[in-house]
Amino acid sequence: MTNRYPDPQRNHGLAAIDAVTGILVILLVVQIWVLSATLDTFLAGHAETALPAAAVSGLLCLTCFALYRFVRRVDRNVRSGR
């Protein structure tokens, strides 16, 4: 089988993006769980978990944005050949 990506830098870039995508998926699953648990407790009449859950969700969201910026930087570097 021939190597479809002969450029090693490109291969590294793809591997990095794959790894980051995996981490993003994990973070998103955690965020979905946090949201569903918060909704569950809120609808059961308990609002005290809403604020900590929002803080955790915000932190996860910021992490996702940081990872996305990393993906863009890797992509840009590989495309420009740096």
Partner: protein, 175 residues
Amino acid sequence: MDDNSSLTSGAANQSVPLWRDEFSVSQSGERYVNRRQLAKFLTLTSLGMFAGNVWVVVRSWFRKTPVYGRTVVARAGEIPVGGVKLFRYPRPGEQCIMVRTSEETYVAYSQKCTHLSCAVFYSRQDNRIECPCHQGYFSVQDGSVLQGPPTRPLPRVVLRREGDELIAIRMEPEI
């Protein structure tokens, strides 16, 4: 159409077909772009989840604390020991059930089963509150679940005795 295509593409480069000229992204490049787009999609979904959490916070800030009125449910001695009286509290559409468990003890609960809202009834021979729909059983002492699909206890109506009158003053937990 083929003639036109060959004319336009042929003017630029004879070896490059028209479709490649117009769709200049290679397959490997397309895969690369798709991964970046997937990362972008996941990040925006994450933002959506965060927005959902913020919405819950905002809703909890503007949540109104229920105000319960006082409703005279019955007069003491009006029902016999083991007897039942139905009443509506805190709103006209909310049916509740009061049971006299002993000479001096009265308990009252919402009549809506916490599973699927069927009307529960008091079983005197088993001394428990039962839901006929899915055989959910609740303790008559505190409304806790004894058996069946319900996972939450029956909301309790807090009663106060004032002279000869039994008065409903609030629900626990708040509904």
